[in-house]
Amino acid sequence: MSAQFASGTVGRGFGDRLILGATIALAIVMIMPMLWAVGLSLKTNQALLIDTNSVLRAPWTLTNYYDILIGSGVFRWLLNSIIVSFGMSLGVLVLASLAGYGFARLDFPGRNVIFVLVLFGLAIPEQAVILVRHQLFSDLDLHNTYAGLMLPGMSAPFGVFLMTQYFKAIPTEIDEAAMLDNASRFKIFWRVLLPMTLPAQATLGIFTFLHAWNDYWWPMVSGTNPQMYTLTVGIASTQQNFAESAGLGYLMAQAVFAFVPVLIVYMFFQKYIVRAVSGAAT
């Protein structure tokens, strides 16, 4: 067992079991809303109108999921989310890697001042710039385009900060060995240092992907055409007519359709995702 646990190394009696029991109870509370949504999605809208407790009893049905398959914007939104999230992640990785290498390894006039100014950007919340940015994108005709949805996320300084730190942590001996191996400056970056930053790339990529996938405000005000909705915006749009036109079961089926894939991905990449999110915070 972990030596870090506060009780020390000996003795795990009643107290430990009590704590474990309480934690498990809390975990059940934790997943209850998700289970409730899954249950609702498996009932017909008519059955739910009478009594939502009927989720505890058969019959269950997949009609709501069938309805999604045949006529719903969900697939289009899913596609948009995938395009935007991958595009933004790729953009951030490329820009942050280049800039991180530049700040960590190359000297150019004003480097340190510029780096500090970029770090100040970490403290600028989106809300402080979103209105002007919205007007700017109107002027540039970028609303309702994929570029319009992706570009703001690429301007965030976090990736540059992370990659700079990571490049700095690589010993310069490696660069020097490569210089003696006749590698050009770009080759040192591309073939030697960049592959060594893969763990940071994974962290940054996952973090950016999650951010893009879950982002709500900007895609809502920029991608106003339903054809350009991301999954997050699309699901939100259905809540306006909550339980009325579409029906509760159908609505929950959409939600389940949206969050189950995310949870499955999360289960496989849990270690990296946790590191990405925690790393971004500190």
């Binding site: 001996e173 020097e176 060995a177 490569a178 003696l180 191996d181 006749n182 080759k187 592959p195 893969l198």
Partner: protein, 367 residues
């Protein structure tokens, strides 16, 4: 294979001079060791030769090629780094061939060289592994292999043994010496460890405070140290020093009178010394023998006894308060606070003048 010539090298970082007018010539196939305390400039000098630090003034020649303005990869030198600097994402084979592929060498030739180097270093079974999957000693061999395949005119080693444990360090040291037998190129080896320097070098360059103190064979460095710094830095335990007054001795040699009044006859010629009066006597522990309290040139109290097995070092406090280290047999019975006599072998004594320059006995001693 060419020799190497350094001419009046100067290097500054801002206002600080880190290499101060250093000149040096290295013969073909010579094994040269740069020895000195940390911060003395020895690594900077090595990196200037490699091209990793720019040269502010002076010239570096390898054979008839002036290289100090060439990029590192173009100087035909290979370097083994302190922390190996292997590329962690490449296999051992890729690590060794990276530099050759960068100059578009034919694949067949690359394979031939890598295979030959791997055989020589006994790392053939590791070629497809990555650096993270092999031990520290094996990494060291790969780093050496990466240098060998380039068939350079000059090998540079930057404290390559400092990361190894004691046993492996000795083994690798021997292997580097053997490697030197097999290749024709010259080698420069930077270290702060005098044992490495003494055992490996044809010649040692002792550096201190950005300058060269002495260039010489290991025995010259040990027996005829050019300066007080060299005398104190090389040898374990460090040489004993004491201020002395000089008097005329027999046969034109000088005698030195220690602070406690004892006079030691030396074999240093009066005529070879400068006129000044302030001299320091330097004498190694092995030239001071422990004997019975009444039988020595002088006597004192054993303050500390270090038993090394084959010999025993005794720190003796003389009547005037100075402490000297003297040697006794491994079976010595000297105990703490014993009164002991100390016998000086004046023929092995050195004198250092007020400029810290060394003056030595006429005949080569100690060899």
């Amino acid at each position: 294979m060419p020799g190497i010539e350094l001419k009046n090298l100067i290097k500054t970082f801002g206002a600080a001079t880190v290499i101060d007018n250093v000149s040096l010539s290295i013969r073909p196939h010579e094994f040269m060791v740069f020895l000195g305390p940390s911060g003395c400039g020895k690594s900077t000098l090595l990196r200037m030769i490699a091209g990793l630090e720019s040269v502010d003034a002076g010239e570096i020649w390898i054979g008839d090629r002036r290289v100090d303005q060439l990029a590192p990869g173009e100087r035909r030198v290979a370097m083994v780094f302190q922390h190996y600097a292997l590329y962690p994402h490449m296999t051992v084979r890729e690590n060794m061939s990276f530099g050759l592929r960068n100059v578009r060498m034919p694949t067949a030739e690359i394979d031939k060289r890598v295979a030959a180097a791997a055989r020589m270093l006994e790392i053939e079974h590791l070629l497809e592994r990555k650096p993270g999957q092999i031990s520290g000693g094996q990494r060291q061999r790969v780093a050496i292999g990466r240098a060998i395949v380039k068939e350079p005119h000059l090998f540079l080693f930057d404290e390559p043994l400092s990361n190894l444990d004691a046993a492996l360090r000795v083994r690798t040291r021997i292997e580097i010496a053997q490697l030197h037998q097999r290749v024709e190129a010259a080698m420069i080896f930077v270290t702060h460890d005098q044992v490495e320097a003494m055992t490996l070098a044809h010649r040692i360059v002792v550096m201190n405070n950005r300058k060269i103190e002495q260039i010489g064979t290991p025995m010259e460095i040990y027996s005829r140290p050019a300066t007080a710094f060299v005398a104190g830095f090389v040898g374990t335990p460090a040489m004993n020093f004491a201020p002395v007054e000089l008097t005329d001795g027999p046969n034109g040699f000088v005698s030195a009178r220690l602070p406690d009044g004892v006079t030691i006859p030396t074999r240093i010629e009066q005529a070879s010394l400068p006129g000044s009066k302030a001299f320091k006597l330097g004498i190694r522990a092995e030239s001071l023998r422990i004997c019975g309290a009444e039988q020595g040139d002088t006597a004192g109290v054993a303050q500390f006894v270090e038993r090394l097995g084959d010999r025993t070092l005794v720190y003796v406090r003389l009547s005037d308060g100075t402490t000297v280290v003297a040697e006794d047999a491994g079976t010595s019975r000297v105990a703490l606070n014993d009164s002991v006599g100390v016998k000086f072998d004046g023929a092995c004594a050195h004198l250092f003048d007020d400029q810290d320059r060394g003056h030595h006995a006429v005949a080569d001693v100690g060899s």
